[in-house]
């Protein structure tokens, strides 16, 4: 509880981690606010069904609050003039101001009467897009900070955020955001494509970094490395060099 988890991908697509956490927290009975910026609701729904969870049902019973970024963007750009009291969460497209997005998160996860859910969770896929849409890196970091205070500290919930990073990236703004978030995360799951290129049996490597040095006086973080293979309904993890294809 009260944990900030950073999902990071380099040279590969780390979205399988997002699908995992989404179905994991829903099955655990948590109230989830999912800020989905790049894909449609039906994309996540179809994958979630393979993982045994119905997003549509979760939405209906109020357990899942889903912000479909692409749809909200269309409403903002081509829709009617918005009401003054209800700014669109995607308002930052015009104003570069992420406050409306934060208000959306805060209101979504505020405890409501009759709520029996265990702990609130904020899930973001993916944060790097905010920079592409005109938000400044400092604004993005502020947004995350506000979310942490609200969700992790005040509501004792968890926050899980996905960012992309490229090696030798020239996107300095993105690197700034990613590095800063790494310093403040309790747990980092870093999916990386293999340095040797694509392989059918091993899709990548995942580094699990428990930032013990953050909270305790312990000096070293705990780092574990596994390799993984993504299947239609599952992801298998194994120790490096020990994929089923090799054994």
């Amino acid at each position: 509880q009260g944990k900030f988890t950073l999902l990071r991908d380099t040279r590969t697509d780390g979205s399988f981690l997002v699908h995992h956490f989404l179905s994991f927290y829903l099955r655990a009975g948590c109230k989830v606010c999912f800020v989905a910026l790049l894909q449609s609701f039906s994309h996540y729904n179809i994958v979630a069904q393979k993982l045994g969870v119905s997003l549509a049902a979760a939405k209906e019973r109020g357990q899942l609050i889903f912000l479909e970024g692409l749809k909200s963007c269309l409403d903002l750009v081509f829709g009617e003039e918005e009401q003054p009291g209800q700014p669109s969460p995607l308002q930052f497209l015009s104003t570069s101001d992420l406050r409306a997005l934060f208000d959306f998160v805060r209101v979504s996860l505020a405890p409501a009467d009759g709520d029996s859910w265990k702990g609130p969770v904020l899930l973001v896929d993916d944060l790097s897009v905010l920079l592409s849409l005109g938000a400044a890196p400092v604004a993005v970091l502020d947004f995350i900070h506000y979310c942490r205070v609200s969700v992790c500290c005040q509501l004792k919930g968890n926050v899980v955020v996905l960012v992309h990073s490229n090696e030798d990236s020239e996107d300095e703004e993105n690197e700034l955001v990613v590095n800063s978030l790494c310093h403040h995360s309790d747990l980092i799951l870093w999916a990386e494509g293999l340095a040797t290129g694509f392989c059918k049996d091993v899709h990548g490597q995942i580094k699990i970094i428990k930032r013990l040095s953050l909270r305790q006086a312990v000096e070293q973080d705990l780092v574990q490395i596994y390799q993984y293979k993504i299947q239609d309904r599952n992801v298998t993890f194994f120790a490096r060099g020990l994929s089923a294809a090799v054994l």
């Binding site: 894909q39 692409l70 749809k71 963007c73 081509f78 497209l93 897009v129 849409l133 059918k200 299947q231």
Partner: protein, 299 residues
Amino acid sequence: LVFTEEDKYGLYSNLLFKYFLAEGIVCGHDLFVASAKEHPDNILKELPAPLLDDTYGKELGDEAAAVKSEDFQDSMKIAWRYQNLPKMEASPTTYTKFGHYYDVSKKMSPELCQSVKWHSFYLHEELPFEPKMKTCNMNSGYARLLQSIQRIISQEGFDGSDPQKKQRNVLRIGIQSLGSILWGDDVCCSDTPEDTHSLTKFLYVLRGLLRKSLSACIITVPAHLIQNKAIMERVTNLSDMVVGLESFIGSERETNPLYKDYHGLVHVHQIPRLNSLICDVSDTKDLAFRLKRKLFTIE
């Protein structure tokens, strides 16, 4: 959203662009062609003619005399994704089942071109912009294009808005040389462009329009001119599929004996991972293309 990085002189990416449109005509899809460089009418006059099944074998025989039959069956087919339609698997041995083949040396007949409904957007002939949308500080050329695309999608019912339409059809959108100075964007001119967000905002809104309608879009971009690599990284993240074409013209690879049968390389930077945990990664990612008199092949 298929994003193609143009080869240096735009020769081969233009060909790929025309293949996409030609395939649309042969499948009976509606077309939307946008350009700031060439008038869409001219683009549509230059589409390759489809090869009919009975002549196909003969054409193939002429072209592939030196190629063993099993080598040809390993050729890569470019897979297109359509919203709401099941993905079609192309099995390597039955190459006639998916897609069509074209003869680059012949032009598509005007009758066939006129058999589908097509819409065009030529930036320099557009009327003064009366925005019915929030432009979000986007470059006006891009904003106008978005408004035009949204209008067609909505009017023609590609977003399911017209319940009268019994037969739903697909809209194929082709946008040529996005990002070039002709669109009013300076992202190709300097590594610190004045407006670093217009192109990415455009792609985001376009992505939203594509997801909400029965449409697919190919964009070509003169990536070799974009000096700000950060923008290219962001553009890649906003696209479903990213393919780069590298031609050997004027490069040292032209004389490399390894590449003597080919005209360039195909770099698949990203493939779509939609509605699934896994994606369809083919066995090989080392692809090259060649353009013979009649056929453009990727191997």
